[in-house]
């Protein structure tokens, strides 16, 4: 799991966001806020978390993502979790 790069995580995240929120990859920037800029609602945010946990063998609690606001924040958190062995 240590070999997973931030870029790979970002690509996967963008892929899921495109599907869930009907967006084009080029529309998504690191500084975009999930709710305000990309328009994710609660259900989509929960599904985003579930799909990331499906893709990587990790476990993240909903409480851990309360402060996560932007695409960049998600990538950073995910990279930290993956690098530390899968658990926050």
């Amino acid at each position: 799991m240590q070999d997973v790069s931030e870029q790979l995580i970002r690509n996967d995240l963008v892929d899921i966001l495109c599907k869930l929120a009907s967006l084009e990859a080029q529309q998504i920037r690191s500084e975009d806020r999930l709710r305000e800029d990309l328009g994710l609602d609660c259900l989509q945010s929960m599904e985003l978390l579930s799909r990331l946990c499906d893709r990587y063998p990790i476990h993240i609690e909903v409480e851990d993502i309360v402060d996560v606001q932007t695409v960049g924040d998600v990538v950073k958190l995910l990279f930290e979790v993956v690098s530390s062995g899968g658990k926050q």
Binding site: S22, D41, L43, M46
Partner: protein
């Protein structure tokens, strides 16, 4: 955050809306729910209600309700498990079961409670509920009450559902898929004939919400199963009596064992007073009207076709609607609110729908077409939509 701070945080957005003068929610209505309504003293054409067939003010429905009041009074003073199950409650439940060709049905005080209460009782910790991303809030609340895990698939995207079903195949508990027959803000229809082949081989339970389709879809208005001619396409059918019957209340229909379980484990059913007899009688009369006066169903669809065709020819985007629920896509929250305010001033009462009720940047006006709208109502409304649409640079 203190209690006061919590309240103030909730009020900040509401205050902003009120200060703008664009807030049109909860206006005072002083007439029945007909094709026109008196809103704050002014007669408007009604495009805001879900009483698509207009039965809430039909003389036979009102007469049935009056007779029930004369026989039973205004309430039964108890839950359905106590003294709240009268002969007419049983008769209506039988009628609903017959409509769907299943063994049994039961009544809930509202459609919200029917959905939330059925999921709460039929799923539990360790189970998984797969929901369309645009299901009603009652489905989400039902999942939370049940303790089951919830996952969502992209709206009406059966490929995404299929992938979700495959990726969750190792779940230990049972799985359930929940979809709305007609989506309340989009007016599009769940692709049930593509959903069942995904669910049936893996034993996934299918629940459909018939809130906006009972009385509407199908040759005789029997709903989604009749529309697709797939009588066994769903395991549990929930719905409401507030749309087609123009009353209030909800129901669940399924095989007898499921209904027996629900009657003892669904908290919203067990811990609520039963629907008043007058409402039950009104709903039953609405079912009778569907059969005895099929012209209302035909008129509704004639009006739906007229509205969809003429809105499109004016240049409006009505999304994927193919039912009496017609969105006029505007995609700008402030413009929707301003346009709705203008329409109300011109005698058109519609519903502005903005995020988070609908996805980001898909703000819209939502129209509910009625069977009782006359050609004159539709002509006047369409002329007004055209004028306001041009004023707001939505159409050429």
């Amino acid at each position: 955050m203190t209690y006061r701070e919590h309240i103030q945080a909730r009020l900040s957005m509401i205050r902003m809306l009120e200060a703008s003068g664009l807030q049109t929610y909860s206006r005072e209505v002083s007439s029945g729910c007909g094709p026109t309504m008196v809103v704050e003293g002014k007669e408007c054409i009604n495009f805001i209600s879900n009483s698509y067939l207009g039965f809430s003010i039909h003389p036979k429905v009102k007469e049935a309700a009056s007779r029930a009041i004369a026989a039973y009074g205004v309430g039964m003073g108890g839950s359905p498990l106590a003294c709240g199950t009268t002969s007419i409650h049983l008769k209506l439940a039988e009628r609903i079961a017959a409509n769907y060709g299943v063994e049994a049905a039961m009544l809930f005080p509202s459609g919200y409670q029917a959905l939330a209460g059925s999921i709460q009782a039929l799923a539990g910790r360790g189970d998984l509920v797969l929901v369309d991303a645009r299901v009603h809030r009652s489905v989400i609340d039902g999942c939370m009450l049940s303790g089951a895990k919830m996952r969502s698939f992209v709206h009406n995207d059966t490929e995404d559902l299929d992938q979700l079903v495959q990726s969750t195949s190792k779940e230990k508990g049972h799985r359930m898929v929940v979809v709305e027959s007609v989506y309340s803000m989009d007016g599009d229809i769940a692709p049930l004939t593509r959903i069942t082949p995904i669910c049936r081989p893996t034993g996934i339970t299918i629940m459909i919400d018939e809130a906006h389709s009972l009385g509407i879809l199908g040759k005789h208005g029997k709903g989604l199963l009749e529309h697709f001619d797939t009588p066994t396409g769903a395991d549990i059918v929930c719905g409401t009596l507030s749309k087609f019957a123009g009353a209030v209340g909800g129901f669940a229909a399924a095989e007898l064992d499921v209904i027996r379980a629900l009657k003892h484990y669904s908290s919203p059913f067990v811990f609520s007073a039963s629907i008043p007899p007058a409402i039950v009688a009104a709903a039953y009369a609405s079912f009778e009207l569907l059969e005895s006066e099929p012209e209302w169903h035909a008129l509704l669809w004639e009006n739906v076709r007229t509205m969809l065709d003429r809105l499109a020819s004016l240049g409006f985007d009505t999304g994927k609607s193919e039912t009496p629920v017609i969105p006029i896509m505007i995609r700008d929250t402030e413009k929707v609110l301003r346009m709705n305010r203008r329409l109300l001033d011109l005698g058109i009462y519609a519903s502005p729908v903005v995020h988070p009720a609908v996805p980001h940047k898909t703000a819209r006006l939502r129209l509910g077409v009625m069977a009782t709208h006359t050609r004159a109502h539709l002509d006047r409304a369409l002329n007004t939509f055209a004028a306001v649409g041009r004023e707001f640079e939505l159409i050429p």
